[in-house]
């Protein structure tokens, strides 16, 4: 029933081409181009102020672009009013109609589109049951908890069976537990509806768990787009490497000498990898990136880094150890089984294949 519309053969891919937006002399979006395939869950990930919400609002028709085009399926929509684009938008603060009951909130768009009362009733009831808000249809939004309001906001989008779902940080107003639950539910929902979805967030956990494709945005430019694994394991530049991953990737600045050795500013010097040869000229400035979980404890003879534990964040399952290696600050994610005391000396090594190398902020692939 819910997939009726799609089975009619609607191709609801989203194509954004050279989209730009200038506001008050400031370039907010710089000629962005990307595509979301039919049925794909695409996440726009970026820090606040990177332009991701503006992009979403332009796709919805709530704001106008300064240049470029937006197409849904094969039709250009950038000149259309929001209501003619057949998109649904889930707002960060839910934006429910406070003067209407949950039922009327859910059925409002259907009523506007002249859907017969009987069908409205059937569709609203179905969606309400799916979201487990069936018993609250007579309530007004202010009688609901945050999580319930969020469900109504989701339901309002689902009930329309739009070509495209747009989400603007829909979970950011929920508390941590609820957020995790709703995240799983959203993923399940997408599995069930198989609709095209564009989801804006600054929360990388949301991006990694929900997205089939992630587009990382910073300062109005696409930094990288790809599958979550690709973004995490092959960040194409320093920004993506630093933004994705919690705790943040360790960065070690240094100068490469002629023998594949990196001399860091902190005075710690270590043998880089023979693999680097040929990809970066001797004497160039490099940044080495190592994810905290790629550092592991080893015998002192094998140690690439040795340092003292300055601070330990124990999460139960594992712990984040903040180390001082002769002025170089590192964070390592270590198993929680062997407890670490403050001030303890710790020897660490890293698998050369798991090291990321950046030259002038761009990735150098070692393999």
């Amino acid at each position: 029933m819910l997939r009726e519309k799609k089975s009619e053969g609607t191709i609801a891919s989203l194509t954004v081409d050279k989209l730009s937006k200038t506001f008050a002399g400031r370039e907010i979006l710089k000629e962005l181009s990307f595509q979301v395939a039919d049925g794909e869950f695409c996440v726009l990930l970026g820090p606040s102020g990177c332009g991701k919400t503006t992009l979403l609002r332009i796709v919805a028709g709530l704001e106008t672009a300064s240049g470029g085009t937006v197409s849904i399926g094969t039709a250009r929509v950038d000149a259309l009013a929001p209501r003619d684009r057949d998109v649904a938008f889930v707002f960060q603060n839910y934006a429910l109609y406070p003067h209407m009951t949950v039922f009327d909130n859910l059925g409002f768009s259907l009523r506007l589109h002249g859907v017969p009362k009987k069908e409205i009733h059937a569709r609203v009831t179905e969606v309400a049951q799916m979201l487990e808000i069936g018993h609250q249809l007579d309530h007004k939004p202010q009688q609901l908890s945050g999580g319930q309001r969020q469900r109504v906001a989701l339901g309002r989008a689902i009930v329309r069976r739009p070509k495209l779902f747009l989400f603007d940080e829909p979970l950011s107003n929920l508390d941590a537990t609820l957020r995790t639950n709703m995240r799983v539910e959203l993923a399940r929902l997408h599995g069930r509806l198989r609709s095209t979805m564009l989801y804006v967030t600054h929360d990388q956990a949301e991006a990694m768990t929900l997205g089939e494709k992630i587009i990382v945005l910073d300062r109005g430019e696409i930094q990288q787009s790809g599958a979550p694994g690709e973004i995490y394991h092959r960040p194409m530049n320093l920004f993506v490497a630093g933004f994705v991953g919690q705790p943040q990737m360790n960065f070690i600045e240094g100068r490469l000498d002629g023998h594949g050795k990196l001399h860091t500013e902190a005075g710690v010097e270590f043998d880089l990898f023979s693999t680097v040869g040929g990809r970066a000229a001797p004497d160039s400035q490099l940044t080495v990136g190592i994810r905290p979980e790629d550092l592991r404890r080893c015998a002192s003879t094998d140690a690439r880094f040795a340092g003292t534990a300055e601070f330990v964040e124990d999460l139960g399952s594992d712990c984040f150890v903040h180390l001082d290696c002769g002025g170089l600050k590192l964070v390592a994610r270590l198993p929680a089984q062997d407890p670490i005391k403050l001030g303890q000396r710790i020897d660490l090594n890293v698998d050369p294949e798991r090291v990321h190398l950046f030259h002038q902020k761009r990735r150098i692939d070692l393999t």
């Binding site: 709530l62 009013a81 929001p82 209501r83 938008f89 109609y97 768009s109 506007l112």
Partner: protein
């Protein structure tokens, strides 16, 4: 002790504001001798003659009808125009929007006497003196700046997201205004409407200069013209004033909660 002092203050202020009202209500029930007696009689003997006389001899019902027509028309038209103007000022990024709002505020402070002459000449030119449309037009001119100001600030307080949700759900701008914005702005609309109505109901000066024929005169002018050449019918005036006040008291009591919501809307975001 502090609570007693507080209660005392409340009673004192209440009595001070209510006293004139209570005095003419009481006067309307007194006999002619009681009204003029010295020392004054505080408790009336409940005569209804003044009410009968005000209605039968002075045409009170006719003035009430005029007032109802004029005040209602003024309120409906003012609020309709002010809602649209206020919405535009609050929502569209008009380059001179802020300036225009300040200008409205300044306009609403103009003394009536300053615009009385021009308005009279305009209405005379239109042939609208002594007509409902003439007095209503003048009242709209008086109340509009104030109503637009109230509603614009009220609309600004409404979260824009809700309106955008409506636009995406399939509303045109008009539908969004009618189905979502106006219902949400109801407390503001009520507040503005009641204030405009009270003003139109009580207004005396413009009514006096624009409505010179008794056929169109409103309550305040009508009551003011009760005195004959040699008589001062205090009892009838008091009775008419009591009746004139009742609709306002009733309106305020009925919509009290709405008005309070409307007046405090800026303070606490709903």
């Amino acid at each position: 002790m502090r609570r007693i002092a507080f209660a005392g203050a409340v009673v004192a202020i209440g009595a001070f504001t209510l006293l004139p009202f209570l005095w003419f209500v009481s006067a309307s029930w007194k006999s002619a001798t009681e009204i003029n007696s010295i020392p004054p009689v505080l408790w009336p003997s409940f005569h209804w003659d003044h009410y009968r006389a005000a209605i039968a001899e002075h045409g009170l019902l006719h003035y009430i009808a005029n007032s109802v027509i004029v005040a209602t028309a003024t309120t409906l038209l003012s609020i309709a125009i002010a809602a649209l103007a206020g919405f535009a000022l609050a929502r569209f990024r008009l380059p001179w929007g802020r300036f225009y709002l300040m200008l409205l505020l300044a306009l609403s402070m103009f003394p009536q006497i300053a615009i009385a002459g021009p308005i009279w000449r305009l209405l005379n030119f239109l042939g609208w003196l002594n007509s409902y449309q003439g007095i209503v037009a003048a009242y709209i001119a008086l109340s509009l700046p104030f109503a637009v100001w109230i509603l614009a600030t009220f609309f600004q307080e409404l979260p824009y997201d809700i309106e955008e949700a409506a636009l995406i759900d399939g509303c045109s701008r008009w539908q969004a205004l009618r189905l979502v914005v106006l219902p949400l702005a109801a407390p503001g609309l009520f507040t503005a409407a009641i204030l405009v109505f009270i003003h139109a109901w009580n207004e005396f000066f413009f009514a006096l200069i624009i409505l010179t024929y008794p056929a169109r005169q409103t309550l305040p002018v009508g009551i003011a013209l009760f005195p004959g050449e040699y008589t001062m019918p205090w009892g009838e005036i008091a009775a008419a004033s009591t009746i004139a006040t009742l609709p306002l008291v009733a309106l305020t009591l009925i919509f009290q909660r709405r008005i309070v919501q409307g007046l405090s809307a800026g303070a606490v975001k709903g």
